[in-house]
Symmetry: C2
Subunit: 236 residues, 2 copies
DNA sequence: TCAAAAGTGTTTATATTACACCCATGA
DNA sequence: TCATGGGTGTAATATAAACACTTTTGA
């Protein structure tokens, strides 16, 4: 069998951007490293691809290690491959973009990794090129959420329209008109009324909806054009 | 300095999907391999990332080798990393998506690589997972061209509206209404009348336009919503 | 003078925006 | 009973879609 004798092998890392939503702010799951290198500094959760492991499986493993969850929404975001991005050794990192329901994570696992949920506007400096990775992920979140129904991935199974609106307002950092938002959302046909009401509110209780998962899959790749026109200047 | 003694190094490949447009069909630049492995079979143009080379530089090098061009429109598409995708050895491939102006390539360079421009519907089976890569790239082309003004990257500097329409009809494999297409396009403000007319036509000569590169850059990230609604079911 | 392709305008339907009032709840 | 947040309707505007005739050209 043919082999490739002349080419050099490179260390392949996986880094995960993990977004959550606490009902008010978009948060990132970051770790304060209690291991080398860069011990004591903040970074994304990551690891190295194993020899006997597919790329997506590697991302799944790393995400499961930290959160205890499987079936997380994950996509490849971008590969970061600058020569000196890791001062220790040439390392190419495949960055994954994950959205999780913040209240479902395993708090023990998170704690044992010395990880915390941190609001976007309070995030510390991160090691290496992880800041750029996060910037890129935020851009991607804004872009993708305007075109595809991914917002739901950040909410619990049953959610209210005002909750979803707060999520979008947090993503785009802008207020939205309640009436237009609600109409547009309901007109997608993606929401099913559970018949229940939200109990959290001290005032009028909001209707709890759930996703129509069939239509969600059908409509996922359709363009949504969800944000008002003024917001339409994100990227790539 | 810290190193990563326990992790395994992996061969990192770069594969390039290169699209062109000949005025009628979307074409792919593919190579009939006159080297091992898989000699005699068709594949994408590719190579291995060098130790002293950034990822994007590697893609640029491979694209330049084959086409003689620099300043090609390139983006990262996706990383393919299944364990056994290359039977010779574990190889992870970063796939790049490139659009070129077909008449500007260096025919000699292409010939010396045993490469040819092949219409999408006539493409042969490719080695390894290169068929999936191409499928993914076609999806991406349809998706991206509906939202961003990338079609121009496939046309000569001066082009006519009917040429651009034929390009979009080729991408989406569907006829478009000339009047609506033209109005929508001109309303973007992206086109500048060169004052010249196309001489190719045996009938009425079409106006030659060029891109307003300033506005092109400004508007690149704005959503375009360019294709009619019926077409809006591509992906990711 | 005729065939082939370019250029343009209007009407209709649909989607988006802006905006204000009433309702339910528990403190 | 009042403050807070939830729910809904309508009119004006903008955008998109469907559709047909006139112009230019060179064979």
């Amino acid at each position: 069998m043919y082999t490739y004798p002349l080419s050099s092998r490179i260390l392949l890392a996986i880094d995960c951007i993990i977004f959550g939503f606490d009902g008010k702010d978009i948060k990132l799951l970051l770790i304060k490293r209690n291991f080398e290198p860069e011990k004591g500094n903040w970074s994304l959760m990551g690891g190295f691809l194993k020899e006997e492991e597919d790329l997506e499986a590697g991302a799944g493993r790393i995400l499961h290690d930290l959160t205890g969850l499987t079936n997380i929404y994950v996509e490849q975001l971008e590969v970061f491959g600058k020569i000196n991005r890791d001062p220790a050794e040439r390392t190419v990192s495949v960055v994954f973009f994950a959205l999780i329901q913040i209240d479902e994570h395993d708090a023990e696992a998170v704690k044992s990794h010395n990880a915390s949920w941190i609001s976007l506007d309070k995030r510390p400096q991160l090691i290496f090129d992880h800041n750029q990775m996060v910037d890129r992920a935020i851009e991607h979140l804004r872009y993708k959420a305007a075109l595809h129904p991914i917002g739901f991935e950040l909410l619990p199974e049953n959610f209210t329209i005002p909750q979803l609106q707060k999520l979008y307002e947090a993503i785009y950092n802008t207020p939205l008109d309640r009436r237009n938002f609600s109409r547009k959302l309901l007109s997608t046909g993606l929401l099913i009324d559970t018949g229940f009401k939200n109990n959290n509110s001290a005032t009028k209780k909001a209707t709890l909806y759930r996703l129509d998962t069939i239509r969600y899959k059908e409509k996922f790749h359709a363009f949504w054009n969800f944000m008002p026109d003024a917001m339409k200047t994100p990227q790539s």
